[in-house]
Subunit: 277 residues, 4 copies
Amino acid sequence: MAIVLGPNRYGKAETRVVRVTRAADGTHALTDLNVSVALSGDLTDTHLTGDNAHVLPTDTQKNTVYAFAKQHGIASPEAFGLLLARHFTSSQETITGARVDLEEYPWNRLGPHSFSREGSLVRTASVEVSGSAETVFGGLTGLTLLNSTDSEFAGFIRDDYTTLAETSDRILATAVDARWRFPAVDADFDAVFAAARDALIDAFTGTYSYSLQQTLFAMGKAVLEACPDLSEVRLRLPNKHHFVVDCTPFGLDSAPEVFHADDRPYGLIEGTVVRDD
Amino acid sequence: MAIVLGPNRYGKAETRVVRVTRAADGTHALTDLNVSVALSGDLTDTHLTGDNAHVLPTDTQKNTVYAFAKQHGIASPEAFGLLLARHFTSSQETITGARVDLEEYPWNRLGPHSFSREGSLVRTASVEVSGSAETVFGGLTGLTLLNSTDSEFAGFIRDDYTTLAETSDRILATAVDARWRFPAVDADFDAVFAAARDALIDAFTGTYSYSLQQTLFAMGKAVLEACPDLSEVRLRLPNKHHFVVDCTPFGLDSAPEVFHADDRPYGLIEGTVVRDD
Amino acid sequence: MAIVLGPNRYGKAETRVVRVTRAADGTHALTDLNVSVALSGDLTDTHLTGDNAHVLPTDTQKNTVYAFAKQHGIASPEAFGLLLARHFTSSQETITGARVDLEEYPWNRLGPHSFSREGSLVRTASVEVSGSAETVFGGLTGLTLLNSTDSEFAGFIRDDYTTLAETSDRILATAVDARWRFPAVDADFDAVFAAARDALIDAFTGTYSYSLQQTLFAMGKAVLEACPDLSEVRLRLPNKHHFVVDCTPFGLDSAPEVFHADDRPYGLIEGTVVRDD
Amino acid sequence: MAIVLGPNRYGKAETRVVRVTRAADGTHALTDLNVSVALSGDLTDTHLTGDNAHVLPTDTQKNTVYAFAKQHGIASPEAFGLLLARHFTSSQETITGARVDLEEYPWNRLGPHSFSREGSLVRTASVEVSGSAETVFGGLTGLTLLNSTDSEFAGFIRDDYTTLAETSDRILATAVDARWRFPAVDADFDAVFAAARDALIDAFTGTYSYSLQQTLFAMGKAVLEACPDLSEVRLRLPNKHHFVVDCTPFGLDSAPEVFHADDRPYGLIEGTVVRDD
């Protein structure tokens, strides 16, 4: 019974590239990416014998990220990922698959060539090219939102291990991790990002919540309604617990005004919302 | 065209449970886990209307982790995960699937009831129960290994973006992330862990390496050879680059003795090694 | 020659308290703090014999943080720190000194009771009370700023270990860590914070820089000019290096448009700017 | 009333240098350091006008770290820090003070040129040279220790905010941060490190504890007794709380066997133990 190589891939992870574009009037634009490349193909030799004739070095992948940023600019994380993935799979006979994961760190303009890092929100993209099949995902992480009321949690199952009290007024807080699939690879990626982000925020803010699951579905639905180009959005919402501190032992009233923001454990609600074609 | 709920799950992530077992002679044993539970089933109502009648609260899941640690002890992360996953899927009609991910932080014994945290190595397990199907993975992360020689990298593809020089003597360093699948759920999980860990270390140390891919395959093969119970091991090996610092501008010789340990980017080599049944 | 106890203190670190204030019209306000308390005093017994009769438990300190947030609200981190420090030193005979360090995480209003976490900027305060002496510091960390031009670095010392080329056009990026001392403890802490933060941003943005030291002094000076109440500001500015990637090996021009954002090492410039009374 | 420059310093932080020494028989030795340099001196010009004629670039400081590692090897973090600090202050007229902070990451030998990263313990050193005054500190961080019994906490102050129950059996866990001052700069740094580390572990393990303060003093005393060369040790001990989970609501007994390992808040006990000359 032989021992053999199964699925495999390799690449350069977390190349941190910053692209500055200088307009004629002295105004600069800035794009700040973290790019991870993973390639697959005919790579048995390097695994079995260490013969690297089919291996495009990860150092070359890094150089390509820089060179493409220079030559082509960065139109959007999705478009830049597509450029790279198509290049790797089309230029090397031995490389038949490429996945490129990208994070974009947004900067806020302060002046013609001055910027500040905005928030904890990170825009994400993921591109896969395998032969003629091309898949593009957009998304975001780190969008931290909180409603200080209009959130209940009640009517749930009670078993032998349940001690949780029902509540009709709690803080609901999360850090949104969203990922949407583009049915077509020529979408207006930036417009979709802006519309999806706004829809997520508005739906979180505007939903009177009976469970984080309900809020999740409302957020996913809002994204699909705002973005007719999208057919699917996946959400991953940690329930960042804020526990009411009982101050009655200290002679104070019981109105829920002081909360302990806990680190761990946390709830984690994951769900996909899809257009039913 | 309707917007509908797709795949979804929810649970309590990162419950940090420490179980102490006190022997009659005053010797204590300690198990230190981080447990994440994700449940799935008939959960449409909570998403669409906020009706939580089918929802076992994540708080209850946390309580169950603690109660089971108390009542049953923690034989191994794999066995504890199985206990929990079987409980959630068998005790609630609305819950049909459970995934439990576990991290175990090893402690080194210093005395009858004294311990120190050992290294950065974390033992991992992942259990999925869905109806009668049960899947168990074991593994580890954070096993940081380094060979200061016996590593080459040459003979690779050169394209327009390649500037890397070939090398016949480099540092090879990684932090092993390994995950093995148990064909049977009644394996001796602890024995497999110990044998697999040792096999990984020995294979990394003992392989004269022409590529990290070659080392990866050697490590996976060693695990399968040492553990006849296993049919598959997946490895994820960052290439933690150590670049030779050129000290010749300072009037010093060029022997590769001083290295810059870089953070990012890093190579990332992923592969599965399987028994060919 | 005896072995004796020297300076010591103890307390509860990182109490994460969120205070919600509900206005009659349904509008909520939110204050999100991380509070660390350290007490000192007549504490020799607990160190030498384990007699805790002089020890106010750290758990009680945590409770006090919550109770005071409930009872008094949180006017500002500085004011809340003063309240706490005065309480600990005045209410316990054995506690003669208190230091309270506070971080405030700013939230952006999205609706009457909806908020998003703003940026990476954290407002800081540090209060020390020892007998009748009271010292208050305000400050901020995590204010990440970048100029993509108008920064030079040249004319520096060259010794046997210098390889750095002079540059007349580089990216200058930092994450500001600032701390200002209030000569009086009844200052308008919020107004000073807002004015100091704006002065830091404007001075960074508006300074044509020949060294990060020069920018540091300009920033400190701007704070003192904007805040006549302050007599001293201390700045700690990492130089977050962005290295131009040389794309000429790839047949591309040498205009500095693509940069590698490096993690480590980084420059670190620290300095105090003072009003010369 | 003028605004002027106060105390200031600058340098290169976190240079990650790995030094390999190759013995004639093929055995390698490995030293892995993180080095941060901060220089001070006659630096007013660069702050006020951007004239850098007195500035030794931080890039040169980094090169010097690498070059000295190559030329002199790394006898110990303390000795290497002294070499660097003396060099910077003696070779440049404008630089009169140097502080070098070092972290050493220990590696465990697996073979003649194979190593694994040991634990979370980091050896630390801090060297300051100012004119003819030389100060050297050794130390460690990240030594994580736990006693699962032989720890009580009772007899403490109770005030209006105290809810903590007394306990005669708790888990005591900490991550030791220790720093010792060498009265003479020609000490046997490695021998002191080994003896101090062992004394810290033995004293923590061997002390029946009535408070973490008492354990702290016992640990400091043990270091000074084991290391006659030292006159002072400063300890910083987080109290990493492990709370007993009450499993009686689940029909289980109340023996303290299951604990929740909490992240925040945590106690923080700091104290100095000195030889009374």
